[in-house]
C-alpha cells in the first residue's frame, strides 16, 4: 500500500501546484490520473517517487508500505526507488542513456540493488525484456537505444522499471510520444504486467480512452486539486464534476465526425497564480456559483465515487 495524505506542492513564489491531495494505491490496483497539462498530475506522480524538481516545496505525508517517508529525504527515497516504486516517463526517445547498451542499462539496478554479478544481471535483463514482449530479446541486450524504435524503447524502459520488482509502477503519459497502434500495445502490456506481478499501477494520462482501457479507478485533477474520483467506468459513464463532464464531452468520437465542431471547455487552464482560491475550476465552469471563487468545495459522495463541487454538497 502506497499512500499520500495532505500532499501539497508549492512553487518558490508560494503558489500551490498541488493542493492537499489524498490518494492510496493498494497492491495490484490500477489507478488512473487524468488532467490537462498543468493540472499537477505529473508533480503528484513525481512526489510518489521522491523526485519533485528542486525549488518546489513538498509538504504532507507519503507512506510506502506502512513507513512514512519525508518528501525531502533523498537517502530514504533512493532505497525505495526501483525496489518499491519505479517510474517510466513520457519520452522514450530520450529516456535511455544513448551511450549504454540496453542490456547494461537494465542490468545496472540489479547489480547495484540486488548485488547480482554482471552475467546474472544480464540473464535477468534478458528475461525482463522477454516479459515485455520485445521481439528478439537476446539481440536487444547488445543494442544501443538509437537502434530501437519508440515502442521498443518504451518496452526497454518498462523492463528497467520492473527489474527490482517494485510494488508500484508509475507511468507518466507512457504512450503520448508513440503512435496509436503501438500505444495500445504498451497500455495492454502495462495491464498484463500489473496483473501477473500483482503490481500496483499509477497511470498518468490526458487520454481518457487510454485510462479507460488501463485502470480500474481514476482521479481527475484540475489546477492542482483532485476534483473527482471513483471507479473508472462509472466516472466516465456518469461524471459528477462539471470539469469531468466537460472533459468527457470534449472527446472526439467517430459518430460526430463532420457534423459539428468538437465541443470544448471554454478558456484555457490559467497560470497557477491566477487560479481561484476556492474551486480551481471557477472562471471556466459553466454552472458556477458565487461562493465557488472563495470557498474550496469539499469532496462529496457521488454515485461513482466522490467529487469536490459546491453543486453536489448541501448549501452551507
Amino acid at each position: 500500500m502506497i499512500a499520500a495524505r495532505g500532499l501539497s506542492i508549492r512553487t518558490g513564489a508560494g503558489h500551490a501546484a498541488v493542493r492537499s491531495a489524498d490518494l492510496a494505491i493498494r497492491p495490484g490496483e490500477r489507478l488512473g490520473v487524468v488532467g490537462e497539462s498543468g493540472s499537477g498530475k505529473t508533480l503528484l506522480a513525481l512526489a510518489m517517487i521522491g523526485m519533485v524538481p528542486e525549488g518546489l516545496q513538498v509538504s504532507g505525508e507519503i507512506a510506502v508500505g506502512g513507513t512514512v517517508v519525508a518528501p525531502g529525504d533523498e537517502a530514504a527515497w533512493q532505497r525505495l526507488r526501483a525496489r518499491e516504486v519505479a517510474m517510466i516517463f513520457q519520452e522514450p526517445m530520450s529516456a535511455l542513456n544513448p551511450l549504454a547498451r540496453v542490456g547494461d542499462t537494465i542490468a545496472e539496478p540489479l547489480m547495484v540493488h540486488r548485488g547480482l554479478t554482471r552475467s546474472a544481471a544480464r540473464a535477468q535483463a534478458r528475461e525482463l525484456l522477454e516479459e515485455t514482449g520485445i521481439p528478439q530479446p537476446e539481440r536487444r541486450l547488445d543494442q544501443y537505444p538509437h537502434e530501437l524504435s519508440g515502442g521498443q524503447r518504451q518496452r526497454v524502459l518498462i523492463a528497467l522499471a520492473l527489474a527490482c520488482d517494485p510494488a508500484l509502477l508509475i507511468a507518466d503519459e507512457p504512450t503520448t510520444a508513440l503512435d496509436a497502434a503501438v500505444a495500445l500495445r504498451i497500455t495492454d502490456l502495462l495491464v498484463r504486467l500489473a496483473r501477473e506481478r500483482r503490481m500496483a499501477l499509477l497511470f498518468i494520462s490526458h487520454d481518457l480512452a487510454a485510462v479507460a482501457r488501463t485502470t480500474e479507478a481514476m482521479l481527475v485533477m484540475y489546477g492542482g486539486d483532485i476534483v473527482e474520483r471513483g471507479a473508472t467506468d462509472r466516472v466516465l459513464a456518469d461524471p459528477a464534476h462539471p470539469y469531468t463532464k466537460g472533459l468527457i464531452a470534449a472527446r472526439p468520437s467517430l459518430a460526430q465526425r463532420g457534423r459539428r465542431r468538437l465541443p470544448t471547455i471554454p478558456g484555457t487552464v490559467p497560470p497557477l497564480e491566477a487560479l481561484a482560491e476556492g474551486c480551481r475550476f471557477a472562471g471556466r465552469c459553466p454552472v458556477e456559483l458565487p461562493r465557488c471563487v472563495h470557498l474550496r468545495p469539499a469532496a462529496t459522495a457521488t454515485a461513482s465515487g466522490s467529487a469536490a463541487c459546491h453543486l453536489l454538497g448541501a448549501a452551507p
Binding site: 523526485m51 533512493q78 542513456n97 551511450l99 549504454a100 527490482c164
Partner: protein, 315 residues
Amino acid sequence: MSYFLVRRGIGFVLTLIAVSVVVFAVMNVLPGDPSLTILGIDSTEEARAALRERLGLDEPVVSRYLAWTFGALRGEFGTSYAFDVPVAELIAERLPMTLSLAISGMALTVVLALVLGIAAAARHGGPGDWAIMLFSQLGIAVPAFWLSMLLVLLFAVHLRWLPPGGFPGWGDPLAAARALVLPTVALALVQSAVLARVTRSSVLEVMRLDFVRTARASGLPRARVLWRHVLPNALVPIVTIVGLQFAGLVTGTIVIENVFYLPGLGRLLFQSIANRDLVTVQALVMLFAAIVVTANFLVDIAYLLIDPRLRGARA
C-alpha cells in the same frame, strides 16, 4: 569501418597536404637568400650560385616542393644551414623534451579540469561552485609566461624546492622529472581553467536530460549517476576542447621552453628563426602543424569510442 572515420581520415590527409603547401609556400616567398646567410655578405656571386645549385634552390618550385614532401615522409628534412647537421637529428634530440612537456601538461590539465569542473557542477549554485569558477576566471586571465615567472620566484627562488630552469638530461630521471614540474604546472593551470568551465557547463547540461531522471528513478546513488551516466555523455564537448587545447599546449611549449630554458623544439624554433635557418624552421613549423592535426584526428577517433551513434555505416 564507419563512414564517419573514413570521412575524417580523408580530411586528416587533405589537411596535412594543405598545411605542407602553405608552410612551403610561406617559407619560399620570404625574402632572404639562404646562400647569402650561409656564406656571408663577403661571398662571391659565383660561390653563392654554386651553393644554391648544391642545395637544389635553383630547381623549379614544384619539384622542390615534391622533393621536400617526400623527404619529410621518409623523415629527411635536409641539412640545417646554421648547425650543418641533418635537421632530423636536431629534431630527434629535442622532440622527447617537448612531447613529454606537452603530454604531462595535457594530463595535468585534464585531471585538474575534470575534478574542478565536476565538483563545481555537483555543487551548482553553491559556494564551492562559486569558488571554483572564480579560480578558473583567474586562470583564464593570467598569461602563462607571467605565471611561470611567479612559480619560479616562489618555488625555485624563495622555497628552493625545484630548479628554476634548465634541464639535466634524461640520464637522471628524478632530476629530469623535477625540472619538468614547474613548466608542466605553468602550462596546465591556464589550460585547465578553460577546460574546467567547459566541463562544468557540459555536465550541468547533461544533468538536465531525461535519461538522468531515468537513472535516478532506478534508485542509483547520485555519485553513480554522475560518473556512469552524466560524465560519459558530457565528454564530447570536453574532448573537443582538449583537442583544441593540445594545439595550444604544443605552441605553449615554445614560450615555456624559453622561459625555463629547456632544450626542446620551441627553443630550437627560436634559435632557427634568429639564425635564418629556413630549412629547420620549415621542418619545425610543419612538425608542429602535423602534431596539431594529428591531435584533432585523435579527437575524432575519441568521438567514435565515446558515441556508438557515430559507429554506424552512415552518420
